[in-house]
């Protein structure tokens, strides 16, 4: 017998039996318990239309109170995203020109729209469902002109991104010696360390004391890289020996922050592919140990590179599973990639996009703006 058949039938047997029992038991439980209860574990993101103050806290338990004013502010006042991108892009060319160039809505119009969305990495599934809704409205004669169609598409997309809470949680009520911890996670090379460097300066400028913890003890010169950023913003910095346990480095960072009454710890972690079980376990431990002392993890930010394709959705799913991701940072949006996959991440997984990276300099980080993002999706490089 061939090896893969052996494996396959064993795996099938284990799954069919083991998982089958779990499923059957779940159904039984559902039947005997009060009927209108969602199956356990299948938590849907709250509907976006609900006004914010009615939203239940999404990870249960004591949630730090989000500040009314987003703490991410304009260090060196970066220009709006649109302006910054304008240099490289001619708006309304490409797909838009095609759509607007026709006087009626034709099959080609739909093809052009589909292509525009696919090119922006929005993904086939999301694209199809967005366009199907519009097709119905065209059929119902609610939309007649190509230009209306374009507007409607953008309005729909922006609407789907409305209502999410994009504040970066910082709990002011913690006493001295009880730092907030913001943890940065993601696959290799997406921009975790750089984002921390930029954010440190913004936080200092808004009057908070900050410490950077070099939880990447694996990659060559990762700590040196973060150390340089710490110097640039003049903030405290804690590192460990190369190859040492990342959770203890971050723990030490939190301890140091607590001892020095520093309010905020930005914790870097090594890039890791979500498929590596051992590394994902390590990350769970990092999160756990980070809260062993006086600090509390108030944000776990997943960094996604704008060039990422459909794999981004899997990344988000897996990192959320491991670490309770509370927000997404979309980096490298200053390039030619549009980062459309985060649209799927937010609308399908309910993880809000909170920050956008638009360069390699200190000031190149800004709050996420749905309208600007959607508009940029359709612009051509």
């Amino acid at each position: 017998m061939q090896w893969y058949w052996i494996f396959l039938i064993l795996a099938v047997a284990v799954m069919v039996f083991g998982f089958g029992v779990v499923l059957v038991n779940r159904r039984q439980a559902q039947r005997s318990v009060a009927p209108p209860r969602p199956a356990s574990g299948v938590t849907k993101p709250p509907p976006k239309q609900v006004p914010l103050d009615h939203l239940p806290p999404d990870d249960g338990g004591e949630i730090p109170i989000a500040e009314p004013e987003p703490p991410v502010e304009r260090a060196g006042t970066p220009a709006p995203l649109r302006d910054r991108l304008a240099k490289a892009r001619i708006a309304f060319s490409g797909a838009f020109a095609g759509v607007l160039g026709r006087s009626t809505i034709t099959d080609e119009t739909w093809d052009d729209l589909e292509e525009a969305l696919l090119r922006a990495d929005v993904g086939l599934g999301v694209t199809t469902s967005l366009l199907d809704q519009l097709k119905q409205r065209v059929k119902d004669k609610a939309i007649n002109e190509p230009s209306e169609l374009l507007d409607a598409l953008q309005v729909d997309m922006v609407a789907q991104l409305q209502g999410a809470d994009r504040t970066i949680r910082f709990d002011d009520s913690f006493g001295p010696g009880q730092p907030n911890i913001w943890l940065f996670v993601g696959v290799n090379g997406v921009g975790k360390t750089t984002t921390i460097g930029k954010l440190a300066r913004q936080q200092v400028d808004s009057g908070r004391s900050v410490l950077l913890a070099a939880g990447d003890t694996f990659r060559a010169a990762a700590a040196e890289q973060l150390g340089t950023w710490a110097e640039r913003s003049g903030v405290e910095f804690v590192r460990g020996a190369d190859g040492s346990d990342p959770s203890s480095v971050i723990f030490d960072g939190v301890e140091r922050a607590a001892a020095k009454n520093i309010q905020l710890v930005l914790a870097d972690t090594a890039g890791r592919l979500h498929t590596k079980t051992n590394l994902m376990e390590e990350l769970k431990k990092v999160r756990r140990v980070a809260e062993k002392g006086a600090g509390t993890v108030t944000e776990t930010l997943l960094v996604i590179d704008a060039t990422t394709g459909q794999n981004g959705l899997t990344q988000a799913r897996e990192f959320r599973e491991a670490t309770d991701v509370t927000g997404v940072v979309l980096t490298k949006l200053d390039g030619s990639a549009k980062g459309g996959i985060v649209f799927a991440i937010e609308t399908e997984l309910g993880i809000p996009i909170k920050l956008v990276g638009v360069g390699e300099q200190l000031g190149d980080l800004m709050p996420f703006d749905p309208a600007e993002f959607v508009e940029a999706l359709f612009e051509q490089a």
């Binding site: 064993l10 086939l124 590179d305």
Partner: protein, 467 residues
């Protein structure tokens, strides 16, 4: 998923067969499935269009075959064609007659250039060469430090001068001549293809060192932008070969196809991990299969080989098919499976498993009660669960701290599973298939799971599950 594509195609092709002649619309339907598979794999929209035009004929040809698994035949034809596109001319390094041979590395930020520089150094060393590394990334904090660390690990010298990247690159080559090193690898800063100033800088670096080979490093997770990036770098630098990085993940890697189409230069190396040894020659056939979605299965099989005891596993499989699988066997095989990662992850990668199960969000912890129940059975009960009667049920449930109802559901489900596996072992009622197991389909290493799926009730849910 690969099986999804071939299964979806199966349905279409079977239906078309009766018709004798394929209409344009039929062909479009087939191509639509292939197109969506490529798009889901991140192949660029424009590239998908041109590739689809080219594989149309091959795909249609394959539908004429009378094989039992027409979907797989089509996929095989497509797979072969993709392999051809991805392959072609390979890159054989010709060393400069007047050393050193100069290699220039380029690419977007974070794509893996510096890591690949270290890996190439190790590779050249294994070819009996003496490389020198040049750190011409003076942009990113600690970039040179990173390269020095890697150089130290490989045991090769690293040159850099904080003054100016173009000058550094030039002097690096001079340094190599002085030291008698015969290969120079120049690492450069990551840059955006639309950053005119930085693209000009790398053009100047290239001019200063006249590289024998310029490598573009592309992240396997890249989406649609791969085309724009590859095109811009190729126009600026005349790329000689591509290094595809981070292939150790689960991205389908359609970017490989996009890049190959756009610049027409070979993909020379695959980078498959953070460690320096994780670097190998690029395999077009593996990549083609991966883009079509069979990569998961290949990875699984590789992992499985490490996790399972081959002999034991084979015996267990035989017992399973003869209906003699015991609950002890189950525990043992489940432990082996768990070594490969969370069971839900493995489930997700397996072809032919019911959606219902895949969507159920079952964690390893959810299986703990099952383990507890089995562990509180006697050896005899584990071997023959059908003997478990009322009083035994009560005892087992108490021992495991569960409800008696759970014990009986477990026993019932086990019986269902055994029945199903036995049926598979006997050939599932289908004729013409040797050994009871479905044949190996058209593609190397890809079992035809459609039969299993049918047996498990196809779309209709799982056997033994109440609706």
């Amino acid at each position: 998923m690969f099986d999804n594509l071939s299964n979806r195609l199966d349905g279409i092709v079977r239906r078309l067969r009766g018709k004798g002649r394929l209409t344009e619309a039929d062909v479009d339907e087939i191509m639509k499935e292939i197109r969506s598979a490529l798009l889901e794999a991140d192949v660029n929209v424009t590239v998908v269009r041109s590739v689809c035009n080219r594989i149309r004929e091959h795909a249609i040809g394959a539908t004429r075959s009378q094989a039992l698994d027409p979907g797989q035949q089509v996929v095989k034809a497509v797979n072969d064609e993709l392999t051809r596109i991805l392959g072609g001319e390979t890159l054989a390094i010709k060393y400069a007659s007047k050393p050193p041979t100069v290699i220039l590395m380029a690419g977007l930020q974070g794509s893996g250039k510096t890591t690949a520089t270290g890996k190439l150094a190790l590779w050249f060393k294994s070819q009996g060469r003496q490389p020198l590394l040049v750190g011409a990334d003076l942009q990113r904090p600690a970039a040179v430090e990173q390269l020095r660390t890697l150089g130290g690990q490989v045991g090769v010298p690293v040159y850099s001068d904080p003054e100016d990247p173009v000058l550094t690159a030039f002097q690096g080559v001079e340094e190599a001549k002085r030291l008698g090193r015969d290969v120079v690898i120049v690492d450069t800063a990551g840059r955006l293809s639309i950053d005119a100033e930085m693209m000009e800088q790398v053009r100047l670096i290239s001019g200063a060192v006249s590289p024998d080979y310029t490598f573009l490093v592309i992240d396997a997770m890249t989406g649609q932008d791969a085309v724009q990036t590859a095109d811009a770098f190729h126009r600026t630098l005349q790329i000689d070969g591509v290094i595809l990085s981070k292939l150790d993940g689960d991205a389908r890697g359609g970017a490989a196809l996009s890049v190959k189409e756009v610049i027409g230069r070979p993909i020379a190396f695959a980078s498959t991990g953070e460690k320096l040894e994780a670097f190998e020659q690029f395999h077009p056939d593996r990549m083609a299969g991966r883009i079509l979605g069979m990569g998961d299965m290949m990875t699984l099989i590789e992992q499985a080989e490490n996790a399972f005891e081959a002999d034991q596993a084979e015996q267990a499989a035989v017992r399973l098919m003869e209906g003699e699988f015991t609950l002890d066997d189950f525990l043992e095989q489940m432990q082996a499976l768990k070594k490969m990662g969370p069971l839900s992850g493995i489930l997700g990668m397996m072809p032919g498993m019911p959606k219902e199960m895949k969507n159920a969000k079952i964690g390893d912890d959810d299986l703990k009660p099952i383990e507890a129940i089995i562990r509180s059975m006697t050896a005899e009960e584990r071997a023959r669960p059908q003997i478990i009667s009322g009083s035994r049920r009560g005892r087992i449930a108490k021992g495991a701290g569960r409800e008696p109802g759970e014990v009986s559901r477990l026993v019932k489900q086990f019986g269902e599973m055994q029945k199903m596996m036995k049926k598979m072992g006997m050939g599932g009622g289908k004729k013409g298939k040797r050994g009871g197991f479905p044949g190996l389909g058209g593609l190397r290493g890809t079992p035809d799971m459609s039969e299993l799926e049918q047996m498990m009730g196809g779309q209709g849910g799982m056997p033994g599950l109440p609706r």
